[in-house]
Amino acid sequence: MILAFLAATVMSTVGTVIEVPDKDTETVRIEALVKLPTLSPIQRSLLDGIAGVFPCDTATFSKGQINDLSGRVGQRLRATAMDDYLRLSYEVLAPDVLTGLSMVASTLREPTLTTSQIDLSLQALRSRRLGYWESALKLNPFLQPKYSERDITNLKTLVFRPENVTVAVVGNFTPGAPTQRWQELEMLWTPGRLPAPEPGADPLVKPPQSVESNLSVLEFRAQPILAKDASLPTRLLALVALGNGKGSSLFRIAREKLGWSYRQEAVLSPTESGFLPRLLVVESQDEVSSHDPEALRKALLEDIVAWTDDDRKRAIGMAEASLVRGAGPSSLYFLPSRPVTTGWEDRGFLTAYWRLKTGEAWNPYQLIGKMGFVSLEELKQTALELVTKAQAVVSNSKSG
């Protein structure tokens, strides 16, 4: 199923609506992404708690009404908070798209949030068990926040603002109608005065997350990349060469040569200002407590030095396979536990996310084209720097 982009309309209040019509579907998926400003660690955790409350009553709609609309297709409004965005995902029958948009806008503009609801949500988060992979991917640990009503109001005012929102609408609808409805809804949305900023925290100095008791995750965290950095294609290509695909250095060394691991991947995680390239190796601790990361670093560096043009071509091919054809795993880990795919279920999210993050339309062909201009020497240099400067982190049951 190929989806055609019809329009990408920049609206007067800076909010963006992207329409992706597809007449073959009976439903419409609405993806609303809210770009997050700098938040303190406590605010981040509070936002996690608020996301857990959604769907909730709003000033216009009851929670029951919101559940009922998506319940007709066996779905519900889902909210996820990452380091750089809050995502509301809502799927409804095609005739309900405009009502669905109203409910999403109302949830962002005028949610009824009580401390008792948030307390319950935070309690669920505290006791929630993350799988080893989601736990390893999560850069910021959940901290139990002490908060007041005022903190909730400030956070809502800071985050839920129309200019922070990018909406993608994917499915069967009349082109132009979602954009027009969102514009009407935005007219009703008058955000409050911005509260004074609270000090932020460097996410990279946080302690590693705990993982399941019999597993450890060995990680190299490289230097972050700014979202609009012109070197992004080169650095992404280096990351793919290092750890994406079964011909990658990480697979050949950590799995085939050393036999340390079944799963090892190169991951591009979202951060507040850009992306964080990471190499992750999952190990069972039944055999050993964990291997020496420096031995792996040394082996990787030796491998990079020996790269030939075949490695460069493989990386470009692998990027093409995953980002254009959906034929292999991708390194774009913009979701909490898995990478984005080229499938229908992620199309709206990726479209909205890339626009929100970089200000540009998602165009994998253009990205692959830029990778084609990266020389072998440039690739090796970038990869060497990535691995050399990376911080080694080992997460296991004893570290959380």
Binding site: G131, G247, G259, Y262, R263, S322, V324, R325, A327
Partner: protein, 386 residues
């Protein structure tokens, strides 16, 4: 300009005349199915090999999985690297009923996919040292086996005992594997009459069919295809070494009204439970459909037990919609189409996903109620995690 117009018309005429699908049953019993999906960016070429001649037994438990790991490295152990350089990707999976080898290539690369599968059909090249190393990797794989898979495996264990052994395997058996044992498994796994090759994507149906037939249709078959006895399931309760819990309905063939109703019921109820999953691998044999969740220890079972009469109409509407959507998702891309068709065709040349679609469309409210009842404590397998 006129010549361009003539060319365009000719092209259009060809595309209109070309059949979108073609199934070919080869003389040796192998099946080739080509599904033309002209607008897709990828061709998925999938070889499915039925496990009829190599059922899992306690003595061979997991050898097929180990074979899959070693086989797909290719003759020179550099197959992945070669494919990825061309923008292609290979994956493989071992199921109870079959082994799947999937090569995904670009629109002009069908020949490369066929050549790749031809390489994999040659006798596996391996050594004891390689097997030992790969068993180490499998040990690592077992350590990260997810809770949903563990819950589902426990359900199969309760329902079918040694006839439902988890295809992952037994590490103690794997540690005794030899090159000879793997070669023997490979011969039986890839008997031509057990093979189905599905090619889905932007292809010329006739040319793709010819290439497929040349790949698997010319090999000599085994003398006597085995008669596989139908596995017989029983409900009950089992504890699993996993977090979460679930209910598993015992179902028949993929296209039976009861199976489709149970799938719809499982999807409908799971849609109301956080962190839930529904696992079903379409099979012509008896199987289970597991609906579970991985955060608590009672949510799914409690929901199944607490369904009121008044809930039924809504659940029916949602379940029917979700079953239809589930089917549409399976048929939405070259990869998923080839997988769905392949896993059925390797079990019998007459099986088609469309049979399941018909059953979903004709599902009645009464059938759905029976589908819900198949998850009841008395009729289903109750899986309890930690």
């Amino acid at each position: 300009m006129l010549s361009t117009l003539v060319c365009l018309l000719a092209t259009q005429q060809i595309s209109v005349q070309e059949p979108p699908q073609l199934r070919t049953i080869c003389r040796n019993g192998a099946v080739v199915f080509v599904d033309r999906m002209p607008d897709e960016p990828v061709i998925s070429v999938q070889l499915w090999a039925s496990a009829k001649s190599v059922p899992e037994t306690p003595d061979t438990h997991g050898l097929r999985h180990l074979l899959e790991h070693i086989l797909v490295k290719g003759q020179a152990k550099d197959l992945d690297r070669r494919l990825e350089t061309e923008g292609c990707f290979l994956t493989a999976q071992t199921f109870r009923d079959a082994m799947q080898i999937e090569v995904n290539v670009g629109p002009q690369q069908l020949d490369l996919a066929i050549k790749t599968l031809n390489e994999l059909l040659k006798p596996v090249v391996t050594t004891q040292a390689e097997i030992d190393r790969e068993v180490g990797v499998l040990t690592q794989e077992f350590a990260i086996y997810d809770d949903g898979s563990r819950l589902s495996a426990a359900a199969w264990d309760q329902a079918f005992g040694k006839d439902g052994l988890d295809p992952f395997g037994d590490l103690q058996v794997l540690k005794k594997a030899t090159p000879e044992a793997l070669k023997s498994i490979q011969r039986k796994q890839f008997y031509p009459e057990h093979l189905a090759l599905v090619i889905a994507g932007p292809v010329d149906v006739k040319k793709a069919t010819e290439a497929g037939v040349e790949l698997i249709g010319m090999k000599q078959g085994a003398n006597s295809p085995p008669q596989v006895p139908q596995r017989s399931g029983k409900p009950g309760r089992i504890e699993a070494n996993a977090l979460g819990e679930g209910r598993a309905a015992l179902v028949g063939a993929f296209d039976s009204p009861g199976t489709v109703a149970a799938l719809a019921a499982g999807l409908a109820v799971a849609s109301e439970v956080e962190d839930s999953f529904v696992t079903y691998t379409p099979s012509v044999a008896n199987a289970v459909i597991t609906a579970g969740q991985v955060q608590g220890t009672s949510g799914m079972g409690r929901r199944f037990d607490g369904i009121a009469e008044s809930d039924m109409p809504h659940l029916f509407a949602v379940g029917r919609y979700l079953a239809k959507t589930w089917y549409q998702r399976q048929m939405s891309s070259p990869r998923s189409v080839a997988a769905f068709r392949g896993q059925l065709l390797c079990q019998g040349a007459g099986y088609r996903p469309e049979q399941m679609e018909s059953a979903i469309k004709s599902m009645t409210f009464q059938a759905f109620q029976q589908g819900l009842a198949s998850f009841s404590r008395a009729k289903a397998v109750t899986v309890v995690g930690q």
